[in-house]
C-alpha cells in the first residue's frame, strides 16, 4: 500500500468511518492523524485505534491541517504508512512535560521493542517522530533529553488548538493526553530525509543575548541594551513599531550556514518574549522575510529531482507561516507544491528537529 493520505470534514464518528473507507482494505503499519479542535481528542483517538486495531496510531490537535494539495481547517487528516514503507514501529508517551520531561522509560521501551540499543540504531533506517503539547513550553528540554539519548533524528511539531491557546492534545494508542509528548520510532525500508526550510534572508546584523530568562523564553537584553531597543535599532524601526515587524524579521541562530529561527512573540516591558528559548550568550542574526511558496517549492523540487519521486511527506508547518499564507491568499499555491506527493501535516505551534524552532516547514520525506 506504500503511503496514502485521507481527510474528512465530517463529525465524529462519521469522520473516522470516512478515513477508514479512504484507506480501503489496506492494513497500514502506522496511522498518523492531525485534527482540528472541532474533534474531541479522546473520542477521536479511541475511534481511530478501533478502526485500525493492528496499527500504531498517533496524532495531535492542530491549528490547521494539510492533506495532499490542500491547506485545510476544521478537518481531520491522516497518513497511512504501509508495511512496505515501515518495517517496524513503536510508540511511547512522555507525560508530565512541564516539570522536567523524562524520556528514559520511552527509550527503554524502544530498546525492548526493537531489541537494539538506541545508540546502535542505523541512522539511515530509523527515524523518530515527536508530537508535543504546544502549550507546555517544554519542547527545548524534551528535545535536549531526546538528543542526549539518541543520535537517531527525531522530527515533529508542537500540537496546536486552532489559535485558542487553551489546551492542546497528543494522541496515542487510543488515548488523548495533554502536558505530554508522543514519540514514535520507525524502522524504514527505503530511507528518508529531513528537509527544514524557512523563508528568510540572513542579514549581517547581529544581536547577542546578554541577559535572558530562559525558562520564560524571554530576552531581557541584547548587546547589553534593553532587548526591544536593540532589536528595533537592528531592524531599523522605532521601538513602538517593532512588534509590527516581528513576523518579517525574526532572529536566526546560525547552524551550518542555516538559520534556526527564533520568533518574537511579544514585548514585555522592554524585554522580548519568544516562541522558543534563547540561551544567554547566543549570537543571533536578524532575518528578512522572503517568499514562502517559492522557497518551499524549491526545496521540495530539489529533493524530487534528486530522488526521482518522493513516496510521501509529512509537513510540520509553523502557524506563523500559515497565517502569512492566509493573509496573502497563497494557501492554494502552497498546497500545489505537494501535487503528486502523498502529503499530510499540520500548522504547528513550533517545529522540532535537533531542537525546537519556529517559522519553518520541517518535513519528513519518505523515499
Amino acid at each position: 500500500m506504500s503511503i496514502q493520505t485521507a481527510y474528512s470534514k465530517k463529525s465524529l464518528p462519521d469522520a473516522v468511518s470516512d478515513i477508514r473507507t479512504q484507506c480501503g482494505n489496506n492494513k497500514p503499519r502506522v496511522v498518523l492523524c492531525f485534527a482540528s479542535t472541532k474533534y474531541d481528542p479522546a473520542a477521536l483517538s479511541k475511534q481511530l485505534q478501533a478502526a485500525f486495531p493492528d496499527a500504531c496510531v498517533a496524532g495531535c490537535s492542530t491549528a490547521g491541517e494539510i492533506a495532499n494539495s490542500k491547506m485545510l481547517s476544521e478537518s481531520v487528516v491522516a497518513m497511512f504508512l504501509g508495511e512496505d514503507v515501515v518495517e517496524d514501529a513503536a510508540l511511547a508517551v512522555v507525560e508530565n512535560l512541564s516539570g522536567d520531561p523524562e524520556v528514559v522509560e520511552a527509550f527503554a521501551h524502544f530498546e525492548r521493542h526493537f531489541k537494539t540499543p538506541v545508540m546502535s540504531m542505523d541512522l539511515e533506517k530509523y527515524v523518530g517522530l515527536v508530537l508535543v503539547d504546544g502549550l507546555s513550553g517544554s519542547e527545548e528540554r524534551l528535545m535536549e533529553k531526546i538528543g542526549a539519548r539518541a543520535d537517531v533524528f527525531f522530527v515533529g511539531g508542537s500540537a496546536g488548538d486552532d489559535m485558542k491557546f487553551k489546551k492542546t492534545h497528543v494522541l496515542a494508542n487510543g488515548r488523548a493526553y495533554t502536558n505530554a509528548a508522543v514519540l514514535a520510532l520507525l524502522r524504514l525500508k527505503k530511507g528518508f530525509e529531513v528537509v527544514k526550510t524557512q523563508s528568510f534572508k540572513v542579514t549581517d546584523k547581529v544581536l547577542v543575548a546578554t541577559s535572558v530568562d530562559e525558562p520564560h523564553r524571554t530576552v531581557i537584553q541584547f548587546n547589553h541594551k534593553p532587548a526591544i531597543k536593540a532589536y528595533a535599532e537592528a531592524v531599523g524601526v522605532t521601538v513602538d513599531k517593532a512588534a509590527s515587524v516581528f513576523m518579517e524579521h525574526p532572529l536566526g541562530l546560525m547552524i551550518s550556514g542555516e538559520p534556526f529561527v527564533r520568533s518574537p512573540q511579544r514585548v514585555q516591558d522592554e524585554a522580548m518574549v519568544f516562541y522558543c528559548q534563547i540561551k544567554e550568550g547566543m549570537e543571533l542574526r536578524v532575518l528578512d522575510a522572503t517568499d514562502i511558496v517559492a522557497d518551499t517549492r524549491k526545496a521540495v523540487e530539489a529533493k524530487k529531482a534528486e530522488w526521482g519521486r518522493i513516496a510521501g511527506l509529512i509537513d510540520f508547518h509553523c502557524i506563523l507561516r500559515t497565517l502569512e499564507l492566509r493573509s496573502k491568499k497563497h494557501c492554494d499555491q502552497y498546497g500545489a507544491i505537494f501535487n503528486g506527493i502523498p502529503c499530510a501535516g499540520f500548522s504547528t505551534y513550533g517545529e522540532q528537529y535537533l531542537g525546537h524552532m519556529n517559522q519553518t516547514s520541517t518535513m519528513l520525506l519518505f523515499r
Partner: protein, 67 residues
C-alpha cells in the same frame, strides 16, 4: 589558564561522534542549540567556570566524561 573549554568540547564531540561526519555535525548543532558554540573556543579562550560547568552538565546528560 586557557584552552580547557576547547579541550573539553573536542573530547565531547570525539567521544559522541566517533569520527562519523554526520554525528560530528549533529553533536555540534545540539551544542549550539544549548548555547555553546564549539567554534568560538580555541586554545587561548579563558577557562570561564560558568562555561566549563555548562559543558560538564551537557556531557553528563550525554553520558560522557570530560575533564
Amino acid at each position: 589558564m586557557a584552552g580547557q573549554i576547547k579541550r573539553m568540547l573536542d573530547s565531547l564531540i570525539e567521544q559522541r561522534a566517533k569520527k562519523n561526519p554526520t554525528l560530528i555535525n549533529t553533536t555540534k548543532s545540539k551544542l549550539l542549540l544549548r548555547g555553546i558554540d564549539p567554534d568560538r573556543f580555541d586554545q587561548t579562550s579563558p577557562d570561564d567556570p560558568a562555561v566549563i560547568s555548562k559543558v560538564i552538565c551537557i556531557a553528563g546528560e550525554l553520558g560522557i566524561h570530560v575533564s
